[in-house]
Amino acid sequence: MSRQPSFRDLKKLSTYLDGELNAPASRRLEDRLAHDPILRAALDDIRQTRAVLRRTPQRRAPRNFMLSPQMVAKHPPMPRLVPVLNYASIAAALLLFFSFASGLGFGGSMSAPEPAMMEAPAGFNIGGASTDDMAEMPAAEEMMPAAEAPAAPAPAMEVSPEEPAEELAAESESEAAADRAISTEAVVSEPTKGETLAAEKALAATTTPASTPTTVPIHETIAEVEPESARPLLTTLQRGLLIAIVILILAGWIVRRATIAKWQKASK
């Protein structure tokens, strides 16, 4: 039964007409053409359209397009400003690279030690809890995601509701300072028992005395430390250099394009 050809059929007809349809598809199409007058009519239409296009009168070139030596000069003279801008942008890029390489402008210089800081070694007591309690405390690494999702604190590390908020803040600040001081040693080796006790005493001196040993939750410590470590990625110097590089490159490009356009106009 004949029906209007789909675009898929018409595309096949167009491709078939140009001899670009593969042999099996061509045979199938020819079988269909033999039994489908509408498809044959569509093929005739496309054939005639192609014939009209092929017979379209050709236009002659209105003038001679031969090239002169001036037209093909590859490097039109550039103003002195262009190489100056190029060298300036290279110099700025080098300065930026060295600022990163030397770490002078590192905004997050404290961020590197953070993971080590958070990995409290076994036996090291942050909040004054006894070492027996440490067995119940989850590992420091497991506390990291809890710290990032403050809505889900670890059950064993809940803060006592009686502690005032300001004391907590002061506590955790001093503990963070102590943590930082201790963490560098923790990277190298586990602290000895004597060091652990000394650290505990230092921390105990700054903590509020309480009847029950309160452990400042690590995730709160982490939460307090995090804002401090959220320093800008780039310093002012680096930002300035980056902006300078962009402006210099852009200026060089603009001057180059304007010169080429002016030269091409003059050479026509």
Partner: protein, 196 residues
């Protein structure tokens, strides 16, 4: 004309050798540019740009159809011109006909043996076809011009336009269908054998 020898010399920087190639291909390139852009002045600019670009890029020609290679360059030059026109639309300085076409003396009508009536009919036919071509989107226009007017095969057109073969087949089919519908509107201008 020994084309490979001319190309070899042109690659070495021989401008005279390249200019002989220019003379050989300038009608074809200009025609293609005119069909894509629909304006003689812009087509001339694009053609000149294409030849300059071709001379500078001769080292990238590694054999194969030199015609297809040139057509690729002129098509890109036309696309650049279309983008420029989009950014800065222009108003023609030449007076327009009632169809808003720029008046021009049809010097390009090469057949001086044709009678004035035949020349007018040819002019009207050519303009009607050009109007239908210009109604196509630029991507469809380029495909049908390169295939049906310049005689490139599908592979050459795919290489010239940097599109997959399937896309070329699809665009060509759509372009032909749209042209068929458009040309049916001007069938009285078409030669009797080609009336759709």
């Amino acid at each position: 004309m020994d084309e490979p020898a001319l190309i070899r010399d042109a690659k070495r920087g021989d401008l005279d050798a390249f200019n002989r190639l220019v003379l050989e291909y300038q009608d074809m390139l200009y025609n293609t540019a005119y069909r894509i852009l629909g304006d003689p002045a812009h087509a001339a600019d694009a053609t000149q740009e294409a030849f300059i670009s071709a001379f500078h890029r001769l080292t990238s020609y590694r054999g194969g159809s030199f015609k297809a290679w040139l057509l690729r360059i002129v098509t890109n030059a036309c696309y650049d011109e279309l983008r420029r026109q989009k950014r800065r639309p222009t108003t023609p300085l030449e007076p327009l006909t009632e169809n808003d076409d720029e008046m021009e003396t049809p010097r390009w009508l090469a057949d001086s043996a044709a009678s004035p009536e035949q020349q007018v009919e040819t002019l009207e036919l050519e303009q009607a076809i050009q109007n239908c071509i210009e109604a196509l989107p630029p991507d469809f226009r380029a495909v049908v011009i390169l295939t049906d007017m310049q005689g490139l095969d599908y592979q050459e057109v795919a290489a010239a336009l940097k599109k997959p073969l399937g896309t070329i087949k699809s665009r060509l089919a759509r372009a032909r269908l749209r042209l068929r519908d458009c040309l049916q509107g001007v069938r009285e201008l078409l030669p009797a054998a080609f009336r759709l």
